[in-house]
Amino acid sequence: MSEAVGASSVGERFDLADPAAAAAGRSETLPAGKVRCDACPVLCYISEGKLGACDRWGNFGGRLLRTDPVLLMKRPGAEVVASGHPDWGGAFIDDAPVFVSGVGSGTTYPDYKPAPFIVASRHQGVDMVTVVTEGIFSYCSFKVKIDTDRYLGPEQATVRHDGEAVGHVTTIEYGSQFLSLGGVHHLTGGSKREGRVTCELMQKLGNREPVELQIEGGARLTVQAGRPPIVNGVEETRMRVGCGSATIGIFAKQWFGQVDEVVVVDDHITGVLSEHQAGRYLGMRSTGIRLRGRKSTPGRYFQVANPGTGWGGTDIADPLSIVEGWDPKVAWPGLRLLMVSTTGEHAEYYVLDEKLRPQKAAMPEPVRRVVERIGENCEPALATVLFMAGAGGSLRAGVTENPVLLTRSIKDLVTRVTCGGAPAYVWPGGGITVMVDVTRMPEKSFGTVPTPAIVAPIEFTMRREVYAALGGHVERIRTVEEVLAQARHRLVEWTADNPWPLAPLERGR
């Protein structure tokens, strides 16, 4: 009944804290040789080698550990026949049809013990070895990209979940606001509750569940990996096509001749067509429009309004509120003005009357088409979530006796790093700092340990001779067929979007 494992289903977990120190910190005394499981209210004391009341958690080598089936991933179209099955001829399968993922693999303790699965397979005639484990990460976080121009909160503001500080607002990149959630500071640097709430939030975020966030002095958010973000109860649908100035630059020629002035309202840079380089280049006549805000270069204005959830990420509902007036010597009655937001969601068309006051008018069809084109050019707004973790610590000892060789072989693109089979970007510089898109990982890849820390799958794949050369636990290598036959496993289809991890890495493409 592996499908029914529930919301918190991943691999084996350990309490990273030193057991003696942890026991000393408790008011009650821990019976000798037992661990206390605090995965649920039953709070079992579990002796070495036994399982708790749930049959999911047990005491293995003095550590609390969870026993779930390991997740194997099958290449589409591949036949999988376990050794021992009558259909299996005993031959080593070329181009191994199965990749053993770290999901549910568990880990070993102490760290110098070989990783739970060191698996040999062949790919296009080359012997490959994959070292599979579940890493326990205290040093990890989620970087969340929220496609929106709406104001979410000031940079550096604290992000809260369930009342606790779980992260902060970081930079705005083109069309997107970034958040950093989790991290060791919140996991273990604050109160016990802060750590627990952060850990729960991180697990949910990684497992692609929706999470509620409140930014101090800013917006209320619902974020779910791969889904549109919900800002203050409103689902975001599209990203802006560009800033106001960029929008002018893209569409100037299409507006030329149809309108006399265009103001693209944007929280960051509001663009004014007639003054903008694009309008000048087209030889557009000056309109004498006077805009609020701080003029940057010609046709580009900062801070025309406060940030908000109105037009173009500002707080305005009436676009004319940013127009201070018109130079009567330059403007003329009948001047045609378009005001539009950077997503095309908001647009109004005006004509100046005899007293140079903009009067709303029906938008001519050619103008409407360009407004619609702005919308067409906006990509769907999504919240996307990258898991970032440092795997440079002791888990390397489960791979090799000389950990720095593993680090180097990864940097040299000799060893491929994946997380649940998903490709991991390895950050340059020291250590093994990886970034992975959680939507490319198997469902429910993330777990927690009470430390609190995050449990996530990680696999290192390399040629067999490389594994031997870097001091790997060669004597512990098993074949894919042995894993299929021996390990309690769950077999799922490979995610077609991900490169097959057994294929060799290519350098300098």
């Binding site: 029914a4 919301a7 209210p41 039953v42 579990i46 002796s47 036994k50 009341a53």
Partner: protein, 284 residues
């Protein structure tokens, strides 16, 4: 600490999990009534484990006349188990009915107009809710390694049965006996659960081939203490199988005669006995 969790399967069934409790829940009928029932059930479920834990010491102690428990699920457990201690002098703790009692407690959430039929399946101990004219067909699988229903039963609204439970040495709970499976039909799941546990304990023979071990050597905090529980049963001679089945069936008959259960199906190594109050065997 992980709180209660729930997930909905694509076929509409629900999985509720909290610590050692895993429930599969299915309901059919008017969609609003079903949705309201599921929400009420989820609400009630969240209280179940904390309440049980709060009186766990009592629930793990023998059902003596002096034993008192207070929670709604705990009271169902004690009520189902106590008769076995009183009438037969058997060792039994309320934990023998924990799975069934949880299922009974939660099935009551589905007792509302519009729900045609519903079940709460707590690891094979099942509480049913049936509107008039409705029924459930229930299959039983003895060997999970070779999943095939070896018995089927139809429980209809007109039957007095609303609880089905199965116990055996292979299950998650310990057994003193050698039954692969004892399935009991009773008025509620707690009664079925307690009876299945105690009948399975009686399906036994004294044979050195059967490997047994003190319960506490296998699991910490077991309510069975140092009592020997079955660890492994090798293939046994037919005479031994029949002897065990006879012993269990006699006990099951005593339970039926007392009105505690409606029927029992006892299975050891492919051989079965049916004990049924009704003229027509419900178990085929």
């Amino acid at each position: 600490m992980n709180g209660p969790a729930r997930a909905r399967f694509s076929d509409g069934r629900w999985h509720f999990q909290h610590g050692p409790i895993d429930l599969l829940i299915g309901a059919e009928g008017d969609s609003a009534a079903v949705a309201a029932s599921v929400e009420a059930c989820w609400h009630a479920f969240q209280e179940v484990l904390p309440a049980l834990v709060s009186e766990l010491a009592e629930l793990r102690s023998p059902c003596t006349p002096a034993l008192e428990v207070h929670g709604p699920v705990a009271r169902r457990m004690l009520r189902a188990c106590r008769p076995f201690a009183e009438d037969f002098g058997l060792f039994v703790t309320p934990m023998a009915a924990v799975a069934g009692a949880v299922a009974d407690h939660l099935i009551s959430c589905f007792d509302r107009p519009g729900v045609a039929r519903a079940y709460v399946n707590n690891g094979g101990d099942i509480a049913l809710r049936l509107a008039p004219g409705q029924w459930f067909d229930i299959g039983r699988i003895v060997d999970l390694a070779a999943p095939r229903a070896d018995a089927c039963m139809r429980i209809a609204a007109a039957d007095p049965v609303r609880g089905v439970a199965t116990s055996g040495w292979r299950g998650r709970s310990f057994s003193f006996g050698i039954a692969d499976a004892v399935t009991v039909l009773a008025a509620d799941a707690a009664a079925a659960d307690a009876a299945a546990t105690l009948i399975a304990n009686q399906v036994n023979v004294a044979s050195p081939l059967v490997r047994r071990a003190p319960a506490e050597s296998l699991r910490d905090d077991s309510d069975l203490g140092s009592r020997l529980v079955t660890v492994h049963v090798p293939p046994l001679a037919p005479a031994l199988v029949h002897e065990a089945l006879d012993r269990g069936a006699a006990f099951a008959r005593a339970c039926v005669e007392r009105g505690w259960i409606h029927a029992a199906l006892l299975t050891v190594q492919g051989r079965s006995r049916v004990v049924d109050r009704r003229a027509e065997p419900a178990l085929a």
